[in-house]
């Protein structure tokens, strides 16, 4: 599909999409600090999928896009505590090997892709009934 989009152009595109709310309803994302010129640190939210234990919960996450993004996937860390097999229960870091879109990362994936995939992961029949920590609890950040 044509030339490779450089990292910053790509991130600017994603930023615009996130701020204008053009993407999926249930996920939102934007820069953690508005003056981050390198656009490395992002925050995202996932609206808990309906008909699951996550219904009506909002999960906040931190996303870090390294220098190699989008050739390399972003690192994802939950801020709100969540009980999911792909999430480290101690610090909320998402294990890339356990989430297919991170394990098989492609340049075409975006942070939105990851958020949507995580939401699907929550809605997966095997995960949607997992007991969850109290709403609003957060991982103690180091």
């Amino acid at each position: 599909m044509g030339a490779k989009v450089p990292r910053n152009f790509r991130l600017l595109e994603e930023l615009e999409k996130g701020e204008k709310g053009l993407g999926a309803e249930a996920c939102s994302y934007g820069l953690a600090e508005g003056d981050d010129l390198l656009m490395s640190n992002w925050t995202g939210t996932i609206l808990g999928p309906p008909h699951s234990v996550h219904e009506n919960r909002i999960y906040s996450l931190k996303m870090h896009c390294g220098d190699q993004y989008p050739d390399q996937p972003p690192t994802i860390q939950f801020i709100n505590e969540v009980n999911l097999p792909c999430v480290n229960p101690r610090n909320g870091v998402v294990d890339p090997s356990k989430l297919p879109c991170l394990a098989n990362w492609s340049r075409n994936n975006t942070m939105e892709t990851v958020l949507i995939e995580l939401r699907r992961y929550m809605a997966h029949p095997a995960h949607k009934k997992l007991p969850q920590p109290p709403e609003g609890s957060t991982y103690s950040l180091h």
Binding site: L22, G23, E25, S28, T45, H51, I58, T113, Y121, K128
Partner: protein
């Protein structure tokens, strides 16, 4: 006075959009120094969402906005979008501070017990959950492409593709699961008059034979072959009465259109096909036994009729002895009479061995009709099992929607415009995605981004 004016002029206003979960979109202009709570109170007003501030949650750019923060903290740019999500009433109740805030906002609180979100209203529908977003990405569920182009609104899939679909163990699994769920079966029975009056309905629906009938790809292929055969012969029969016909009922009409409901055109409908077959053949069992009796292998004559004849048996007027000869010239016309309990027996007269139907229970017009109704009910409940059979399948009623022949730029004009607004400029890809999503912009975007 002058000072105040100066102050408000120095206080910059921002204009942004608020998008709600119910597809509402509001454009709000408010002072940057206003707090998030002020914004929520504005949104709680009658002009906007009428949702108490305490139950609103606002998300901008990946952050949940806190009530006490000024809007300026979030650096909202002009024209950007804030998402608004309703929280459940229970959440608001857990948070007395929020509840107080909503009272202060003067917005009416929802009465206790009144369903306040979509999910709450579907408690008595066991199928409701199946349509929820929790099935997004569920590996077992077939994708939208299985419904064909335009999300199934266009030409129906060929019978070959339907049969292929049923070869997918996942699809079969889903249908089995549905039929195994007593709640779903109950609902099917309660919503289908014929089944309601039939004490054996539950057994029938849950019988392995019924499941096999619905899920056997070979049966689908066979039905398709039969349908083609019947259609071809139906016309001819109108002109030349089959030997032995004593009735003056026009054969073409009876054979090719047994009920006003069944689609007469090409869409593939295994039941319609069988219905046609059975209708055209007439009631194989003049004894008019329980139509399901055959399904259980009982002699038809022994069971008194429990089900009123369905419309599907319009072909009844046709003497049964005569018509089988029409369907399979090879078959002995007398076979239908001899094997009265099984109208299909004669159809397969010569070809029994290789034919999958030979191992399947015989079908009667009524059983087909009721299966149709059951399928239809499932469709109307949101679980589109009928569509698993392709476009018009399972729909005894309702002819297939006429194919939209307008060019895509006309048909999807509005959606294409929206996609363009969002920055998707590739016309061909947009049209392709819209076709796949059946015209849904949201679905098309997902396609474009995947």
């Amino acid at each position: 006075m002058a000072d105040e004016t100066a102050a408000s002029e120095a206080d910059p206003q921002i204009t942004f959009k608020v998008k709600t979960s119910s597809e509402g979109l509001h454009t709000i202009t408010i002072a940057e120094s206003a707090t998030v709570l002020d914004l929520k109170n504005t949104l709680a007003g009658d002009d906007y969402e009428k949702i108490p501030a305490g139950r609103q949650r606002l998300i901008y750019s990946g952050r949940v906005m806190k009530d006490e923060d000024p809007l300026s903290k979030y650096k909202i740019k002009a024209g950007n979008t804030i998402h608004m999500v309703k929280s459940a009433a229970s959440n608001a109740a857990q948070n007395p501070a929020n509840a107080g805030a909503s009272a202060a906002g003067g917005a009416p609180r929802a009465a206790p017990g009144v369903p306040t979100n979509m999910a709450a209203g579907t408690a008595n529908n066991p199928l409701a959950g199946l349509t929820g977003a929790r099935f997004a990405g569920h590996m077992g569920l077939p994708g939208a492409e299985m419904f064909g182009a335009d999300g199934g609104m266009g030409a129906p899939p060929s019978e070959e593709s339907v049969a292929r679909m049923l070869e997918d163990p996942n699809t079969v699994q889903i249908m089995r699961e549905a039929l195994r769920n007593p709640a779903i079966v109950d609902m099917m029975i309660q919503n289908t008059p014929h089944l309601r009056n039939n004490p054996q309905a539950r057994q029938i629906i849950q019988s392995p034979e019924f499941m096999q009938m619905m899920t056997n790809p070979e049966a689908i292929r066979e039905a398709a072959r039969m349908r083609r055969m019947m259609q071809g012969l139906g016309g001819g029969a109108g002109a030349f009465p089959a030997p032995g016909v004593t009735d003056t009922t026009p054969q073409g009409a009876a054979g090719s259109n047994p009920t006003p409901n069944q689609p007469t055109a090409t869409p593939f409908n295994p039941f319609a096909a069988m219905g046609m077959g059975a209708g055209g053949f007439g009631r194989g069992a003049p004894a008019a036994g329980n139509p399901f009796a055959a399904l259980f292998g009982q002699p038809a004559g022994q069971t008194p009729s429990q089900t009123p004849p369905a419309a599907g048996s319009a072909g009844q007027g046709t003497p049964s002895q005569a018509t089988p000869g029409q369907g399979t010239p090879a078959a002995n016309p007398d076979a239908g009479a001899a094997n009265a309990a099984n109208p299909f027996a004669s159809l397969f007269g010569g070809a029994g061995g290789a034919n999958p139907f030979a191992q399947m229970p015989p079908l009667t017009p009524e059983s087909i009709q009721e299966a149709n109704q059951a399928m239809q009910f499932l469709r109307s409940s949101g679980l589109d099992l009928g569509s698993l059979f392709g476009g018009g399948a399972g729909a005894g009623a309702g002819s297939p929607p006429p194919a939209d022949t307008r060019p895509p730029e006309e048909r999807y004009a509005e959606q294409l415009r929206q996609l363009n607004d969002m920055g998707f400029f590739d016309f061909d890809r947009n049209v392709e995605a819209l076709r796949r999503s059946g015209g849904s912009v949201q679905g098309a975007i997902e396609q474009l981004l995947s």
